[in-house]
């Protein structure tokens, strides 16, 4: 259901595994490695995860999706290690009887992942490298 993997991600395979006869919609999200950031050419990215906690936080997002939309179909996979431009870093699938909930839950899940799931990426350029830092949580514990 929730995985940190080294292998190539395939959103179509995952989507086919999740859908049931009760579903009328599958919403999927794939995050891919962008070739430039702030005008600089990116050679590749290095992703690192605190795997045990990442899976626990993904499960928490799954519980939130169930709480809000009554859906138990959320699946999330994030890849770690070296990823080249154009490769898929994260896939999210959620199915539901109707499209509105699937779209909403899918967007919610990627937004939450980017806030509370402990995964980091380092951008490697021709002339250096930098750990990307997301926005700092100034409020209470996320």
């Amino acid at each position: 259901m929730y995985e940190i993997v080294q292998d190539i991600l395939d959103v179509r395979t995952l989507a086919q595994q999740v859908a049931t006869e009760a579903d009328g919609a599958i919403a999927t999200f794939s995050g891919i490695v962008r070739g430039t950031n702030k005008g600089k050419k990116v050679l590749f990215l290095e992703y690192e995860a605190y795997s045990e906690m990442a899976i626990k936080m993904m499960a928490r997002i799954g519980a939130e999706v169930k709480e809000t939309w009554g859906l138990e179909s959320l699946r999330m996979q994030h890849r770690v290690g070296r990823l080249n431009v154009g490769e898929t870093s994260v896939v999210i699938v959620v199915t539901s009887p109707h499209r509105e909930d699937a779209f909403a839950a899918c967007q919610y899940a990627i937004n939450r992942l980017k806030r509370i799931v402990p995964i980091w990426k380092k951008e490697v350029f021709e002339d250096g490298e930098v750990w990307v830092e997301g926005p700092v949580e100034t409020a209470e514990v996320p």
Partner: protein, 77 residues
């Protein structure tokens, strides 16, 4: 203690075992790390604290065998 991403690279290790007095908070441990290594100063105010794979407030008390992690702002996706 687990370290990740930029913090792991600064310290050069991903795991550190520490012995602490009873009553030490995660914030107390972080301040101890800061006192020992000024290169960590730029992460102060940005790190989140986790104990046993859950986010905790900085006042959380550490217990024997806890796994504490200092997390730079996450950037997955």
């Amino acid at each position: 203690m687990r370290l990740f991403a930029a913090l792991r690279e600064v310290k050069g290790v991903d795991t550190i075992d520490v012995e602490l007095p009873l009553g030490t908070t995660v914030d107390g441990l972080w301040n101890q790390m800061l006192a020992e290594d000024e290169r960590l100063e730029r992460y102060s105010g940005a790190v989140s604290f986790a104990v046993n794979h859950d986010f905790v407030e900085k006042e959380a008390l550490l217990e024997p065998d806890d796994e504490v992690a200092f997390l730079p702002p996450v950037s997955g996706g």
